[in-house]
């Protein structure tokens, strides 16, 4: 299926949910659940927990679909943000073991560029983000990756990279400022 067509299908289905259309939610689920389950599982690292959170995600979508504004946001961005937030909330509330493997600059998590060829409409967006991430210092990129993919807090990232908390906050904030400037170019 054409990815733009997919995007419009998801957006149109989201638009029908506030009227109570269950088949619309099912359509959204059919088109997006594999991506969102991947996101939940990546952050939570445990299948049972990820299934529970995925259920919460779509019940949230059902309740909040009226908040989605197709003229302002991409449906996948909106859905991924819900999946990440629900997963992070679950991670913080639970005793699940977090990914706390020490990381240093040499041990930077394998770069996933090669796999980035599926499901999201924004291949160009991905290339652009990657270009900007490549412009960051390696320790900044590593810290952002730990936060985005493992759901780590500032404290956890500081421990994983064995730097003081203040240093980690500074790294992340500096990285975000650079990232925004680069993406706006």
């Amino acid at each position: 299926m054409d990815l733009d067509a997919n995007r419009s299908l998801i957006a149109a289905a989201l638009g029908r949910i506030p009227a109570g259309d269950r088949t619309a939610l099912q359509t959204v689920y059919r088109l997006t659940s594999a991506k969102l389950f991947g996101v939940c599982l990546r952050i939570l690292g445990e299948r049972g927990e990820a299934e529970d959170v995925l259920q919460e995600v779509y019940v949230t979508v059902w309740r909040k679909a009226a908040d989605f504004d197709a003229s302002r946001a991409s449906p996948m961005t909106w859905l991924i943000a819900i999946a990440r937030n629900r997963s992070i909330d679950r991670l913080r509330a639970s005793r699940l073991s977090r990914n706390m493997t020490p990381i240093d600059e040499a041990g930077e998590i394998a770069d996933g560029t090669a796999t980035a060829d599926r499901a999201l409409e924004g291949l160009q967006d991905h290339a652009r983000l990657h270009g900007c991430l490549d412009g960051l210092a390696k320790h900044e990129r590593t810290a952002l990756r730990g936060a985005f993919f493992d759901g780590n807090t500032y404290e956890e990232l500081a421990a994983r990279m064995t730097v003081p908390l203040g240093t980690m906050k500074s790294w992340i904030r500096r990285a975000m400022i650079k990232l925004k400037a680069c993406l706006e170019q």
């Binding site: 009227a19 943000a81 599926r118 992340i172 400022i177």
Partner: protein, 231 residues
Amino acid sequence: MSDAFDHSALPDDELLAAEYALGVLSGAERAAAEQRVARDRGFARLVAEWEQRLAPWAAEIPDIVPPPQVWDRIAGALPAQSQSGGLWQSLAFWRGLSFAAGALAAACLAALIYLGALTQQQPLVATIEGDGHRHFVATIDAKRGTVAVVPAAFSADATRVPELWLIPADGKPRPVGLLRADRTVTLTLPAELAALAKGDAVLAVSLEPPGGSTTGLPTGPVIATGKLTSL
């Protein structure tokens, strides 16, 4: 704050929005930011902008098809369809239905036009064999963008799951999805993958940890392969 870095390049609200969207806040700070998203539209917009900036990164996370019971649980968790909603409820219902019917009609028409424009496409099949056994039989329907995989002699492994890969002419495996030993699985094939599923491509099955490979490449042993051929 102990760091000497000058944050003046971004206002405090924007930094907080970035930290919340990235997910590095915890405890009270995260809860406070979450509440602000709910009641402060300007702040919610800043958060949405950061989500938009970061979301493309999720393209690196492989799709994993959830088990079918998750949808059943979601359907069960939705509020029961109200009988007392009266006219409004049924209006919404009928409007939804006519929307759906309209969409279906449009989809049928589009499919007809599409079919008419294409030279006839044959389904592709692959018998996925390894170690003298036929493990799976896969049929690719390029028109619908699906691949149906039927288990044959494959026996389940308690600790690992079978994952299907498409290996086109360039030799680089692309993840397609997880398979089951006990039933047919139909996976969707995104357009860019469907375009690579030609007569010279190979389907392969590897054994991966539950949830599948997280690297985008096979991490476990490849136990079976099969070449795609036209029916």
